[in-house]
Amino acid sequence: MRGEKKQKTEEKGDPKAPSHRKPNMLTSLSDQLLAADAPLATVDGDTANQREGESVGQESLTDQTVWMLAVRDHRDRQAFGRLFDYFAPRLKGVICRSGLPPSQAEDIVQDVMLTVWRKAAMFDPERAQVSAWIYQIARNKQIDTLRKEKRPVPEELKLPEETQEDAAQVLALDQETQKLRVALGRLKPAQREMVEKAYLGELTHADIREQTGLPLGTIKSRIRLGLERLRHELKEQGLT
């Protein structure tokens, strides 16, 4: 596999490893995560963030986030291979559920994973956890395939060039997403099935409105904090 040698170096945490992105706090975070025994990035300024930044260990970021950052910042093919091994069988599972024949489902899986590689620079771990980012790419591809029409998507947020990604925010979002996953895992089977149907596009908006069993409250409360923080930041940057 090409690029194998380069990754090995990067996995050892070569501090001079080239980055495709502007150098920022998060890049240094991913460098440190890839390096053995590296101390965690600490966060300046906001004391609340600092408290969180200090209390989390390297293992607090999910493997998927670490792999995705390595793909984004270092075009790391080995990390991409791990993302593929993790997500491709899951993507195939949800896509086949929609009734597409396996070969067509695999075409979509291929398309999604190639998009993950090509648009990696768009991955913003402050705004979306890896699985949420890939879920949204997969929904877009599936709709584009079925309807032969591009799904309308919102305007890209224009972040100022000099904005630094906030490592504490990234960790917090990752952790809250993990808590959400645990909460969803504790749902009764019938409720769980309803969540899957709703989020895999099997219910119309009218169905969802009538579906009082959907635990929208749980969903909101579990990730409200991180998202409110994000919203606050957007406001401070005068983006909205």
Binding site: R90, V109, P154, R181, Y199
Partner: protein, 211 residues
């Protein structure tokens, strides 16, 4: 856009995120999201749920050569889809639906104009131009109607709608929106009842002013 006070309700947002919302409404939702940070973060929350569903979904083995096929293509050149930018009052999703060109207005009478952006058996989405003080005559819709204000404002029986606000009219709402004084009101409106909406034209000639 801190003044936005009418947002996308959860059931429509989940359907948008999951991809079950018809195209016409999705265009209104995507446009509102481009103007409303609150709903943008709410969408992120729902995408996180979708991500969790994907993450914990039962895996299905992929063909042995799929991985290699993907790796073989990593260095292939690829064409970026053209990206549209906001232009004036029109957010990027509307500019994309317009193909980057200014809207082609068709007069409907009484100074009201429309520009249909997309129409299929699941719904129609159009831009509406309503002169200030003018009423949009009662237009029947069998199902959901979403109306997003892009310029000016309107009021109806349910409230006041300014730039960025979205009115959600379910099947049973009888309403007569009236454009506010000041600027002409320009809206992005999606309905699921293409046929019934055609009665819009004759009705426009005999407007019913109901407040």
């Amino acid at each position: 856009m801190t003044s936005v006070s009418h947002h996308i309700p959860d059931h429509i947002m989940v359907a948008y995120v999951a991809g079950s919302l018809p195209h016409a409404y999705s265009l209104v939702v995507a446009s509102h999201l481009s103007m409303c940070d609150r709903c943008r973060t709410r969408v992120a929350a729902h995408e996180a749920v979708g991500g969790s569903v994907l993450d914990s979904y039962a895996t299905q083995d992929v063909s042995g050569d799929l991985r290699q096929r993907v790796f073989d293509q990593l260095d292939d050149p690829f064409e970026e889809a053209p990206r549209f930018e906001r232009s004036g009052i029109f957010p990027a999703p509307v500019m994309e639906a317009l193909g980057g060109l200014p809207p082609k207005w068709t007069p409907l009478g009484m100074g009201v104009r429309q520009s249909i952006l997309s129409e299929d058996d699941q719904g129609t989405v159009r831009l509406l131009y309503i002169p200030s003080g003018q009423a949009v005559p009662d237009h029947g819709h069998n199902g959901l109607e979403l109306t997003l204000v892009l310029q000016g404002a309107f009021r109806d029986e349910t409230g006041y709608f300014g730039v960025g606000d979205v009115e959600v009219a379910d099947d049973d709402l009888e309403h007569t929106p009236i454009a506010d004084d000041g600027m002409p009101c320009i809206c992005l409106a999606a309905t699921d009842a293409a046929l019934r909406f055609r009665s819009f034209v004759p009705r426009l000639l005999q407007p019913i002013f109901r407040i």
